[in-house]
Protein backbone atom coordinates (compact mmCIF):
# COMPACT_ATOMS: atom_id res chain seq x y z
CA UNK A 1 0.00 0.00 0.00
CA UNK A 2 1.43 3.35 -1.01
CA UNK A 3 0.44 6.56 0.65
CA UNK A 4 2.28 9.78 0.13
CA UNK A 5 3.95 10.00 3.53
CA UNK A 6 4.86 13.65 3.39
CA UNK A 7 1.17 14.57 3.63
CA UNK A 8 0.60 13.02 7.05
CA UNK A 9 0.03 15.79 9.61
CA UNK A 10 -1.45 13.99 12.61
CA UNK A 11 0.82 11.50 14.35
CA UNK A 12 0.96 9.17 17.34
CA UNK A 13 1.77 10.56 20.78
CA UNK A 14 4.99 9.63 22.62
CA UNK A 15 2.98 7.89 25.35
CA UNK A 16 1.21 5.65 22.82
CA UNK A 17 4.45 4.86 20.99
CA UNK A 18 6.18 3.95 24.25
CA UNK A 19 3.26 1.74 25.31
CA UNK A 20 3.23 0.08 21.87
CA UNK A 21 6.97 -0.53 22.21
CA UNK A 22 6.52 -1.91 25.73
CA UNK A 23 3.73 -4.16 24.45
CA UNK A 24 1.15 -3.20 27.05
CA UNK A 25 -1.68 -1.96 24.80
CA UNK A 26 -4.79 -3.95 23.83
CA UNK A 27 -4.65 -5.71 20.46
CA UNK A 28 -7.13 -3.27 18.81
CA UNK A 29 -4.82 -0.34 19.63
CA UNK A 30 -1.73 -2.26 18.48
CA UNK A 31 -3.48 -2.96 15.18
CA UNK A 32 -4.37 0.69 14.58
CA UNK A 33 -0.89 1.86 15.57
CA UNK A 34 0.80 -0.79 13.38
CA UNK A 35 -1.36 0.36 10.45
CA UNK A 36 -0.28 4.00 10.95
CA UNK A 37 3.37 2.92 11.30
CA UNK A 38 3.13 1.12 7.95
CA UNK A 39 2.07 4.44 6.39
CA UNK A 40 4.34 6.80 8.37
CA UNK A 41 8.15 6.56 8.49
CA UNK A 42 8.36 9.47 10.96
CA UNK A 43 6.48 7.52 13.61
CA UNK A 44 8.33 4.32 12.65
CA UNK A 45 11.63 6.08 13.38
CA UNK A 46 10.27 7.39 16.70
CA UNK A 47 9.20 3.84 17.55
CA UNK A 48 12.75 2.68 16.74
CA UNK A 49 14.01 5.11 19.40
CA UNK A 50 11.54 3.74 21.98
CA UNK A 51 12.49 0.15 21.09
CA UNK A 52 16.10 1.17 21.79
CA UNK A 53 15.01 2.18 25.29
CA UNK A 54 13.44 -1.28 25.61
CA UNK A 55 16.72 -2.88 24.52
CA UNK A 56 18.49 -0.94 27.20
CA UNK A 57 15.97 -2.02 29.88
CA UNK A 58 16.51 -5.64 28.78
CA UNK A 59 20.30 -5.21 29.06
CA UNK A 60 19.94 -3.93 32.63
CA UNK A 61 17.42 -6.58 33.66
CA UNK A 62 18.21 -8.91 36.56
CA UNK A 63 19.46 -12.14 35.10
CA UNK A 64 17.71 -15.44 35.77
CA UNK A 65 19.94 -18.53 35.31
CA UNK A 66 18.98 -20.82 32.42
CA UNK A 67 18.32 -24.52 33.07
CA UNK A 68 21.03 -27.14 32.62
CA UNK A 69 21.30 -28.12 28.95
CA UNK A 70 19.29 -25.11 27.83
CA UNK A 71 21.63 -24.13 25.01
CA UNK A 72 21.60 -27.70 23.64
CA UNK A 73 17.80 -27.77 23.83
CA UNK A 74 17.67 -24.48 21.90
CA UNK A 75 20.06 -25.80 19.24
CA UNK A 76 17.82 -28.87 18.90
CA UNK A 77 14.81 -26.57 18.37
CA UNK A 78 16.70 -24.71 15.66
CA UNK A 79 17.84 -27.87 13.88
CA UNK A 80 14.39 -29.49 13.95
CA UNK A 81 12.55 -26.38 12.69
CA UNK A 82 11.55 -26.48 9.04
CA UNK A 83 13.69 -24.17 6.92
CA UNK A 84 11.71 -21.10 6.07
CA UNK A 85 11.20 -20.53 2.37
CA UNK A 86 10.26 -16.89 2.80
CA UNK A 87 12.00 -15.40 -0.18
CA UNK A 88 9.95 -15.09 -3.29
CA UNK A 89 6.73 -15.17 -1.30
CA UNK A 90 4.77 -12.00 -2.04
CA UNK A 91 4.65 -9.65 0.94
CA UNK A 92 1.25 -9.28 2.56
CA UNK A 93 -0.11 -5.88 1.66
CA UNK A 94 1.87 -5.59 -1.54
CA UNK A 95 -1.20 -6.46 -3.59
CA UNK A 96 -3.77 -5.02 -1.17
CA UNK A 97 -5.29 -1.58 -0.83
CA UNK A 98 -4.91 -1.92 2.95
CA UNK A 99 -1.86 -1.44 5.21
CA UNK A 100 -0.12 -4.82 5.71
CA UNK A 101 -1.14 -5.41 9.37
CA UNK A 102 -4.82 -5.08 8.44
CA UNK A 103 -4.78 -7.62 5.60
CA UNK A 104 -5.03 -10.65 7.92
CA UNK A 105 -7.77 -9.11 10.06
CA UNK A 106 -9.91 -8.22 7.06
CA UNK A 107 -9.12 -11.36 5.09
CA UNK A 108 -7.71 -9.64 1.99
CA UNK A 109 -8.57 -6.20 0.66
CA UNK A 110 -11.32 -3.60 1.16
CA UNK A 111 -13.41 -5.66 -1.27
CA UNK A 112 -13.64 -8.48 1.26
CA UNK A 113 -14.89 -6.31 4.17
CA UNK A 114 -18.32 -7.43 5.43
CA UNK A 115 -19.97 -4.07 6.10
CA UNK A 116 -23.02 -3.69 8.36
CA UNK A 117 -25.17 -0.58 8.24
CA UNK A 118 -25.39 1.43 11.47
CA UNK A 119 -27.73 4.15 10.21
CA UNK A 120 -27.49 7.39 8.26
CA UNK A 121 -25.50 5.67 5.53
CA UNK A 122 -22.62 4.91 7.91
CA UNK A 123 -21.38 1.31 7.84
CA UNK A 124 -18.99 -0.58 10.09
CA UNK A 125 -17.11 -3.86 10.31
CA UNK A 126 -15.81 -5.03 13.68
CA UNK A 127 -12.47 -6.79 13.44
CA UNK A 128 -11.55 -9.87 15.50
CA UNK A 129 -9.28 -8.71 18.34
CA UNK A 130 -9.02 -9.39 22.07
CA UNK A 131 -11.99 -8.08 24.07
CA UNK A 132 -10.24 -5.39 26.14
CA UNK A 133 -10.75 -2.98 23.22
CA UNK A 134 -12.56 -2.89 19.89
CA UNK A 135 -11.22 -2.23 16.39
CA UNK A 136 -13.73 -1.34 13.68
CA UNK A 137 -13.59 -0.18 10.11
CA UNK A 138 -15.95 2.73 9.51
CA UNK A 139 -17.38 3.70 6.14
CA UNK A 140 -18.68 7.27 6.09
CA UNK A 141 -20.35 8.32 2.82
CA UNK A 142 -19.09 11.57 1.28
CA UNK A 143 -20.53 14.50 3.17
CA UNK A 144 -22.13 12.35 5.91
CA UNK A 145 -21.45 12.55 9.64
CA UNK A 146 -20.72 9.98 12.32
CA UNK A 147 -23.08 10.67 15.27
CA UNK A 148 -21.80 13.11 17.88
CA UNK A 149 -20.18 10.97 20.55
CA UNK A 150 -17.98 11.13 23.59
CA UNK A 151 -15.53 8.60 24.97
CA UNK A 152 -15.00 7.13 28.34
CA UNK A 153 -11.55 5.93 27.36
CA UNK A 154 -9.25 6.57 24.42
CA UNK A 155 -10.26 6.47 20.76
CA UNK A 156 -7.75 6.24 17.91
CA UNK A 157 -9.04 6.99 14.41
CA UNK A 158 -6.82 6.35 11.40
CA UNK A 159 -7.92 7.59 7.97
CA UNK A 160 -7.38 4.95 5.27
CA UNK A 161 -9.31 6.61 2.41
CA UNK A 162 -10.87 10.01 1.86
CA UNK A 163 -10.84 12.55 4.68
CA UNK A 164 -12.94 13.90 7.54
CA UNK A 165 -13.30 17.09 9.48
CA UNK A 166 -14.32 17.42 13.13
CA UNK A 167 -14.36 20.18 15.76
CA UNK A 168 -10.59 19.91 16.19
CA UNK A 169 -9.11 19.67 12.68
CA UNK A 170 -9.06 18.10 9.21
CA UNK A 171 -7.77 14.51 8.81
CA UNK A 172 -6.56 13.00 5.53
CA UNK A 173 -5.14 9.60 4.49
CA UNK A 174 -2.60 8.30 7.03
CA UNK A 175 -3.57 10.87 9.68
CA UNK A 176 -4.42 9.50 13.12
CA UNK A 177 -6.61 11.28 15.65
CA UNK A 178 -6.02 10.52 19.32
CA UNK A 179 -9.19 11.42 21.26
CA UNK A 180 -9.47 11.31 25.03
CA UNK A 181 -12.52 11.25 27.25
CA UNK A 182 -13.13 14.98 27.18
CA UNK A 183 -13.56 15.15 23.40
CA UNK A 184 -17.12 15.14 22.07
CA UNK A 185 -16.82 15.21 18.32
CA UNK A 186 -18.78 14.77 15.11
CA UNK A 187 -16.51 13.59 12.31
CA UNK A 188 -17.91 14.64 8.91
CA UNK A 189 -16.56 13.04 5.72
CA UNK A 190 -15.30 15.41 3.02
CA UNK A 191 -17.81 16.01 0.27
CA UNK A 192 -15.46 14.81 -2.47
CA UNK A 193 -15.17 11.13 -1.55
CA UNK A 194 -16.34 8.42 0.84
CA UNK A 195 -14.17 8.12 3.92
CA UNK A 196 -12.88 4.82 5.34
CA UNK A 197 -11.33 4.83 8.81
CA UNK A 198 -9.95 2.30 11.24
CA UNK A 199 -11.03 3.17 14.78
CA UNK A 200 -9.98 1.60 18.08
CA UNK A 201 -11.83 2.24 21.35
CA UNK A 202 -11.24 0.85 24.83
CA UNK A 203 -14.71 1.74 26.21
CA UNK A 204 -18.19 1.92 24.63
CA UNK A 205 -18.89 5.06 22.61
CA UNK A 206 -21.48 7.38 24.17
CA UNK A 207 -23.85 9.10 21.77
CA UNK A 208 -25.89 12.21 22.42
CA UNK A 209 -29.37 12.84 21.04
CA UNK A 210 -32.25 10.52 20.24
CA UNK A 211 -31.36 8.96 16.92
CA UNK A 212 -27.78 8.19 17.88
CA UNK A 213 -29.03 6.55 21.09
CA UNK A 214 -31.11 4.20 18.97
CA UNK A 215 -28.09 3.56 16.79
CA UNK A 216 -25.89 2.73 19.77
CA UNK A 217 -26.86 -0.93 20.15
CA UNK A 218 -25.79 -1.43 16.55
CA UNK A 219 -22.47 0.31 17.07
CA UNK A 220 -21.69 -2.48 19.48
CA UNK A 221 -18.42 -2.24 21.37
Amino acid sequence: MNTSMTDIKHHLTDALLMAYSAGTLPEAFNLTIAAHLSMCDDCRARLGAFDTVGGSVLEQCNRAPMDQGSLEATMARIMSAPTQAEDGKPKPGAASDLPAPLVDYVGGSLESVKWRPVGMGVKQAILPTSREATARLLFIPAGAAVPDHGHRGTELTLVLRGAFQDETDHFGPGDIEVANEDLHHTPVADIGADCICLAATDAPLRFRGLIPRIAQPFLRI
Binding site: A22, T24, I33, D41, L47, G55, C61, P65, R77, A100
Partner: protein, 191 residues
Protein backbone atom coordinates in the same frame (compact mmCIF):
# COMPACT_ATOMS: atom_id res chain seq x y z
CA UNK B 1 23.09 -0.36 39.76
CA UNK B 2 25.02 1.89 42.16
CA UNK B 3 26.84 5.06 41.13
CA UNK B 4 30.37 3.71 41.58
CA UNK B 5 29.68 0.94 39.07
CA UNK B 6 28.90 3.38 36.25
CA UNK B 7 32.45 3.40 34.84
CA UNK B 8 32.96 -0.31 34.04
CA UNK B 9 29.43 -0.57 32.60
CA UNK B 10 30.21 2.31 30.24
CA UNK B 11 33.29 0.55 28.89
CA UNK B 12 31.44 -2.73 28.49
CA UNK B 13 28.61 -0.96 26.62
CA UNK B 14 31.04 0.40 24.03
CA UNK B 15 32.55 -2.94 23.16
CA UNK B 16 29.50 -5.20 23.17
CA UNK B 17 27.41 -3.03 20.86
CA UNK B 18 29.71 -3.65 17.92
CA UNK B 19 30.61 -7.22 18.79
CA UNK B 20 27.03 -8.48 18.83
CA UNK B 21 26.40 -7.18 15.31
CA UNK B 22 29.33 -9.31 14.11
CA UNK B 23 27.86 -12.29 15.99
CA UNK B 24 24.56 -11.98 14.15
CA UNK B 25 26.43 -11.73 10.85
CA UNK B 26 28.40 -14.89 11.64
CA UNK B 27 25.18 -16.75 12.47
CA UNK B 28 23.54 -15.53 9.29
CA UNK B 29 26.49 -16.13 6.94
CA UNK B 30 27.96 -19.39 8.25
CA UNK B 31 25.58 -20.78 10.87
CA UNK B 32 28.34 -20.20 13.45
CA UNK B 33 27.29 -22.13 16.58
CA UNK B 34 30.07 -20.60 18.71
CA UNK B 35 28.84 -17.09 17.96
CA UNK B 36 25.36 -18.27 18.88
CA UNK B 37 26.56 -19.83 22.16
CA UNK B 38 28.16 -16.51 23.18
CA UNK B 39 25.03 -14.59 22.27
CA UNK B 40 22.99 -17.13 24.24
CA UNK B 41 25.19 -16.81 27.30
CA UNK B 42 24.75 -13.03 27.31
CA UNK B 43 21.11 -12.60 26.34
CA UNK B 44 19.24 -15.74 27.48
CA UNK B 45 19.48 -15.04 31.26
CA UNK B 46 18.44 -11.43 30.65
CA UNK B 47 15.44 -12.44 28.52
CA UNK B 48 14.44 -14.97 31.17
CA UNK B 49 14.78 -12.36 33.92
CA UNK B 50 12.74 -9.90 31.85
CA UNK B 51 9.96 -12.47 31.33
CA UNK B 52 9.86 -13.42 35.01
CA UNK B 53 9.69 -9.71 35.98
CA UNK B 54 6.81 -9.40 33.49
CA UNK B 55 4.83 -12.14 35.23
CA UNK B 56 5.92 -15.46 33.70
CA UNK B 57 6.67 -18.41 35.98
CA UNK B 58 10.06 -20.14 35.84
CA UNK B 59 8.97 -22.93 33.45
CA UNK B 60 7.19 -20.62 31.00
CA UNK B 61 10.06 -18.12 31.09
CA UNK B 62 12.61 -20.87 30.31
CA UNK B 63 10.46 -22.20 27.44
CA UNK B 64 9.84 -18.74 25.95
CA UNK B 65 13.50 -17.74 26.26
CA UNK B 66 14.54 -20.82 24.28
CA UNK B 67 11.98 -19.91 21.62
CA UNK B 68 13.21 -16.30 21.48
CA UNK B 69 16.82 -17.47 21.08
CA UNK B 70 15.77 -19.90 18.32
CA UNK B 71 13.95 -17.03 16.55
CA UNK B 72 17.14 -14.96 16.67
CA UNK B 73 18.92 -17.71 14.73
CA UNK B 74 16.05 -18.21 12.27
CA UNK B 75 15.51 -14.52 11.59
CA UNK B 76 19.14 -13.39 11.60
CA UNK B 77 18.75 -12.34 7.93
CA UNK B 78 16.13 -9.76 8.98
CA UNK B 79 18.37 -7.91 11.45
CA UNK B 80 19.25 -4.42 10.15
CA UNK B 81 22.18 -2.79 12.03
CA UNK B 82 21.34 0.65 10.60
CA UNK B 83 18.01 0.63 12.44
CA UNK B 84 18.60 -1.29 15.68
CA UNK B 85 21.23 -2.60 18.05
CA UNK B 86 21.21 -6.34 18.72
CA UNK B 87 19.84 -5.71 22.24
CA UNK B 88 16.99 -3.67 20.72
CA UNK B 89 16.21 -6.36 18.19
CA UNK B 90 16.32 -9.10 20.85
CA UNK B 91 14.02 -6.97 23.02
CA UNK B 92 11.40 -6.70 20.24
CA UNK B 93 11.41 -10.48 19.72
CA UNK B 94 11.15 -11.14 23.48
CA UNK B 95 8.36 -8.56 23.81
CA UNK B 96 6.33 -10.18 21.02
CA UNK B 97 6.79 -13.61 22.57
CA UNK B 98 5.65 -12.16 25.90
CA UNK B 99 2.43 -10.74 24.38
CA UNK B 100 1.75 -14.05 22.69
CA UNK B 101 2.48 -16.31 25.67
CA UNK B 102 1.42 -14.15 28.63
CA UNK B 103 -1.38 -12.02 27.21
CA UNK B 104 -2.57 -14.61 24.64
CA UNK B 105 -2.86 -11.99 21.92
CA UNK B 106 -1.60 -11.52 18.43
CA UNK B 107 0.84 -8.68 18.01
CA UNK B 108 0.13 -6.63 14.87
CA UNK B 109 3.44 -5.34 13.52
CA UNK B 110 4.06 -2.72 10.84
CA UNK B 111 4.79 -3.89 7.32
CA UNK B 112 8.27 -5.51 7.07
CA UNK B 113 10.94 -3.39 5.41
CA UNK B 114 14.03 -5.40 4.54
CA UNK B 115 17.07 -5.06 2.34
CA UNK B 116 16.73 -7.16 -0.78
CA UNK B 117 19.53 -9.43 -2.02
CA UNK B 118 20.91 -6.75 -4.38
CA UNK B 119 21.30 -3.95 -1.81
CA UNK B 120 22.97 -3.83 1.59
CA UNK B 121 22.95 -1.48 4.56
CA UNK B 122 25.89 0.91 4.72
CA UNK B 123 28.67 0.00 7.21
CA UNK B 124 29.21 3.59 8.33
CA UNK B 125 25.50 4.05 8.99
CA UNK B 126 25.46 0.84 11.00
CA UNK B 127 28.46 1.93 13.08
CA UNK B 128 26.99 5.34 13.93
CA UNK B 129 23.64 3.85 14.86
CA UNK B 130 25.32 1.30 17.13
CA UNK B 131 27.25 4.11 18.84
CA UNK B 132 24.05 6.11 19.30
CA UNK B 133 22.41 3.08 20.93
CA UNK B 134 25.32 2.68 23.35
CA UNK B 135 25.13 6.38 24.22
CA UNK B 136 21.42 6.19 24.86
CA UNK B 137 21.98 3.28 27.23
CA UNK B 138 24.52 5.38 29.11
CA UNK B 139 22.13 8.34 29.22
CA UNK B 140 19.41 6.11 30.69
CA UNK B 141 21.85 4.68 33.25
CA UNK B 142 22.74 8.25 34.25
CA UNK B 143 19.11 9.33 34.82
CA UNK B 144 17.92 10.05 38.35
CA UNK B 145 16.87 6.81 40.07
CA UNK B 146 13.17 7.75 40.17
CA UNK B 147 12.94 8.50 36.46
CA UNK B 148 14.87 5.35 35.51
CA UNK B 149 12.53 3.21 37.64
CA UNK B 150 9.51 4.72 35.85
CA UNK B 151 10.93 3.80 32.43
CA UNK B 152 11.70 0.30 33.67
CA UNK B 153 8.13 -0.05 34.97
CA UNK B 154 6.68 1.07 31.64
CA UNK B 155 8.66 -1.59 29.76
CA UNK B 156 7.94 -4.31 32.28
CA UNK B 157 4.20 -3.74 31.86
CA UNK B 158 3.59 -2.07 35.21
CA UNK B 159 2.23 1.20 33.75
CA UNK B 160 -0.78 1.72 31.48
CA UNK B 161 -0.44 4.05 28.50
CA UNK B 162 -2.36 6.78 30.32
CA UNK B 163 0.11 6.53 33.20
CA UNK B 164 3.06 7.11 30.87
CA UNK B 165 4.12 10.74 30.89
CA UNK B 166 3.83 12.59 27.59
CA UNK B 167 7.24 14.12 28.30
CA UNK B 168 9.60 11.21 28.89
CA UNK B 169 12.70 13.40 29.27
CA UNK B 170 14.65 10.83 27.26
CA UNK B 171 17.22 12.11 24.72
CA UNK B 172 15.75 10.31 21.71
CA UNK B 173 16.16 13.02 19.04
CA UNK B 174 19.46 11.92 17.46
CA UNK B 175 18.65 8.24 17.38
CA UNK B 176 15.27 8.99 15.80
CA UNK B 177 16.93 11.07 13.05
CA UNK B 178 19.44 8.28 12.35
CA UNK B 179 16.72 5.67 12.01
CA UNK B 180 14.69 8.04 9.82
CA UNK B 181 17.71 8.43 7.52
CA UNK B 182 18.15 4.64 7.37
CA UNK B 183 14.48 4.26 6.44
CA UNK B 184 14.87 6.80 3.61
CA UNK B 185 17.87 4.87 2.22
CA UNK B 186 16.00 1.60 2.51
CA UNK B 187 12.91 3.01 0.76
CA UNK B 188 15.18 4.31 -1.99
CA UNK B 189 16.88 0.90 -2.39
CA UNK B 190 13.50 -0.85 -2.49
CA UNK B 191 12.35 1.17 -5.51
Amino acid sequence: MSVNKAQPVTIETKTYAQDWVAHIERIRETGDTRAFAELFQHFAPRIKGFLIRSGANETLAEECTQEVMATIWQKSHLFDPTRASVATWVFTIARNRKIDALRKQRRPEPEDLTWGPEAEPDQEDALSLQQECAQLSQAIAALPEKQRKLIEKAYLGELSHSEIAEETGLPLGTIKSRIRLALDRLRHAMK
